[in-house]
């Protein structure tokens, strides 16, 4: 038996879901999209699955979440729906309810946050509401656990007794009802009688997607079109607006009959008072920066880094490897096996686990900010800036977090609702130097440009510019074109974050990082260990002195030509670029190791070092971040697009730096390389400053 959980965002759906399923949840993405999909078994009922649907306001065809939800409801037909609504915000929440009722799937209306409703002194007439809507209503509080399981039990009972199918309430009036009746009559032979009202309304709204799926013939559509036109003419509005307005008018009527609010209009609640200060015109930005500084300070500069450093350097550096080595030697294990376990597996797993404390800490802050209602305010406060280059105000947080580590940064994009914004943020957020990349900057600047304070600084500025201009340029491409999801956003009431919710959210996200990223990183680390530890004749090499005989070195030599235009076409430079993909900080350790006594200044000229640094900073991030990117994109194609874009950008940028730099500052002759660099610059400027292509404007209106 499958029970679907539907409701608005901020209605307490997640809390109820956690309540009903306990620990047994499966979290993934809906196929092909970045929308999160969660299901779990109902506590005490192993045969009942609770399917969580994305939090939505409507079942319109325009937003991805809404399409996912309605496809599921219409095509998969769950056995029952629990529609959870926020009792303190009934009017807007019931709007989705009026649409769900039309599906004629057994449904329970669960009025959540009833404790707050009572505290506010408001009254809801449940009996009257049941009568008006034609569906069972239960008051509950997911947070307090009141009635939560009872709601699920009631749903099960409905399914078992074959009851609870909503009796269509009288939402529409006069001519609309008349037109809908005509439509129902025409389409019933094709779509059947179940959910007939839903299909009829979709036809009335001229919902192209739904009509296509119903497979209606042109004759039928032409026939009903005249009824729709008559109705539009009479009410002087378009069909979609008529339906929406009538739903809200109906709800307003129901509200009058069933809900009594105590608080006078215009009176400020506590949440209103908090909001007055927090998003204040003058204080809003300083408060935002103070909160961000605190999050950054704790999770990136201090506590988080201490924990990560300890796990990496002490736990997986000083404690576990020597202990395991001693053990291996004591049982007389073969040298290669010991190397695999200590250098390969422990080294690899350590790299992953080292991130975990910091990631959990960041997830903790994110979960608190989300749960208390401040996250939405961030988008409100910063919306204007980030819109300019195609990101959401909420993109700020992933970018900020990425200065510590790109992996939680990428995973932090889950808080962004719009899929295009989210994908764009995933793609761009790792351009900001993370702590490992900062090590590269530190090494290159101290070795090659001692005393020059501008090099490190300019790399930071460059990374901001790359993000901004990439955003502007990508927004104009077909991939990100259009403003499909408008920025019309609810600002939920503030409330004290619930410890259980926060903990579950942190655990959910953290667990997935450890399991999924862990398996991928683990296998790749073992492969690289093999390539750098063995020669082609499968002889185990000494990592300190014999690395030049390894398989990796010969691969590096074979690929060196790729990096020749960037100024470091040696096998050492190439190997450093490859190993840096395991973890960025290894770029520094690798070059130091490969250069040996001669020092790293023997490997690169200063301008080549600059180009080497730029390549490492802007090419795809480390394997951990890449696997997070693949996963969060929800689609391999998008993962590869992101990685491809990052490689291209890093490569082009390094080429320009090397070719133009050696010509302008190091007296190299003007030649083919410089011409290529200039072509790249011109192309980049074109993509940034070209007007939005006409074709895309057209497709936008067509979609509209």
């Amino acid at each position: 038996m499958i029970i679907a959980l539907a409701g608005n965002p901020n209605s307490g759906k997640t809390t109820l879901f956690n309540n009903l399923t306990g620990g047994s949840q499966y979290v993934g993405n809906w196929p092909g999209v970045t929308v999160e999909k969660k299901d779990g078994k109902l506590k005490g009922h192993p045969d009942v699955t609770i399917q969580d649907l994305p939090g939505i306001y409507s079942l319109s065809p325009y937003s991805l979440e809404e399409v996912v939800a309605r496809q599921y409801l219409v095509n998969e037909k769950p056995d029952a729906i629990i529609n959870i609504i926020d009792g303190t915000n009934i009017e807007r929440n019931l709007y989705l309810t009026t649409q769900l009722l039309e599906l004629e799937i057994p449904m329970i209306l669960a009025i959540n946050m009833i404790d707050l409703v009572r505290k506010n002194g408001d009254q809801i007439n449940v009996k009257k509401l049941e009568n008006d809507l034609g569906c069972k209503v239960i008051e509950m509080s997911a947070l307090k656990g009141e009635n939560a399981l009872e709601v699920a039990e009631a749903a099960i009972q409905m399914v078992q007794e074959h009851t609870g199918i909503p009796q269509n309430p009288h939402v529409f009036t006069g001519s609309v009802e008349h037109a809908l009746a005509h439509i129902e009559e025409s389409i019933e032979p094709i779509v059947g009688s179940k959910g007939l009202r839903w299909f009829a309304v979709k036809v009335f709204e001229r919902d192209e997607r739904a009509i296509r799926e119903m497979g209606l013939s042109k004759e039928i559509l032409d026939h009903v079109e005249s009824h729709i036109r008559d109705c539009e003419k009479e009410l002087d509005d378009d069909a979609e607006s008529i339906i929406t307005s009538q739903r809200y008018d109906y709800i307003a009527k129901v509200m009058l009959e069933c809900v009594k609010k105590k608080r006078a209009r215009g009176e400020l609640s506590v949440s209103d008072k908090i909001d007055k200060i927090v998003t204040n015109r003058i204080l809003g930005l300083p408060i935002f920066f103070a909160i961000m500084w605190f999050v950054y300070y704790v999770s990136v500069s201090t506590l988080g880094t201490w924990m990560t450093d300890w796990t990496n350097d002490v736990l997986f550096g000083e404690i576990i490897p020597p202990a395991v080595s001693t053990f291996c030697e004591s049982v007389g294990m073969a040298g290669w096996l010991e190397s695999l376990i200590v250098d390969g597996i422990i080294g690899g797993v350590g790299t992953v686990l080292g991130f975990v404390p910091q990631i959990l800490l960041i997830f903790l802050f994110l979960a608190i900010l989300e749960d208390c209602g401040y996250m939405a305010r961030i988008a409100f406060v910063l919306g204007r800036i980030f819109r300019r280059f195609g990101l959401s105000g909420k993109s700020f947080i992933p970018i900020l977090i990425s200065t510590g580590c790109g992996v939680p940064g990428i995973m932090g994009t889950r808080t962004i609702e719009n899929e295009k914004d989210r994908r764009m943020t995933i793609m761009l957020t790792t351009f900001i130097p993370c702590s490992a990349k900062t090590e590269i900057i530190a090494m290159i600047t101290t070795e090659f440009f001692p005393g020059n304070v501008w090099v490190a600084w300019s790399m930071w500025v460059l990374s901001f510019l790359v993000i901004i201009f990439s955003g502007i340029a990508l927004k104009k491409t077909k991939l990100f074109a259009g403003e499909t999801a408008p920025f019309v956003m609810e600002l939920p009431a503030y409330h004290f974050p619930s410890g259980k919710n926060v903990a579950l959210r942190v655990w959910d996200r953290g667990k997935h990082f450890i399991v999924k990223a862990g398996t991928i990183i683990f296998s790749i680390v073992v492969i690289v260990w093999f390539l750098e530890s063995f020669s082609w004749s499968l002889q185990l090499l000494d990592p300190e002195t014999q690395l030049d005989q390894s398989i990796l070195a010969s691969i590096g030599g074979a690929l060196a030509w790729i990096f020749a235009p960037l100024g470091f076409g040696s096998w050492q430079g190439t190997v450093a670029i490859i190993t840096a993909e395991m973890a960025k900080e290894t770029a520094t350790s690798t070059v130091v190791m490969l250069a040996g006594k001669a020092g790293i200044t023997s490997l690169f000229t200063p301008i080549a070092a600059l180009s080497f640094m730029a390549m490492n900073l802007f090419d795809p991030p480390c394997i951990a971040a890449m696997s997070a990117c693949m996963r969060e994109m929800g689609d391999r194609k998008w993962g590869w697009i992101a990685i491809g874009y990052q490689f291209m950008l890093g490569y082009c940028l390094s080429l320009v730096i090397y070719q133009m730099g050696s010509w302008l500052f190091y007296g190299a002759a003007f030649g083919f390389g410089q011409i290529v660099a200039i072509v790249i610059i011109v192309a980049a400027l074109y993509f940034i400053f070209r007007p939005v292509p006409q074709k895309q404007i057209n497709t936008q209106t067509a979609e509209a």
Partner: protein, 73 residues
Amino acid sequence: MTLNEVKVGNTVHIKKLNGSGPTKRRIMDMGLTKGSEVYVRKVAPLGDPIELTVRGYELSIRKADAAWVEVEQ
């Protein structure tokens, strides 16, 4: 008058929604329908978006999108 022109602290009623497609539908789905009452609560620190009270909750909307909404006092 359109919604983006309303001064902070004023209450207006929606007369008509212009435009079409996703933006319009989204605005309507969030409860800004013909005849509904809207209170313009504040402007974001950077001047955009604006915050409204509609149907008893808070809604944030960009000025560019609010310009599609015709209102009267």
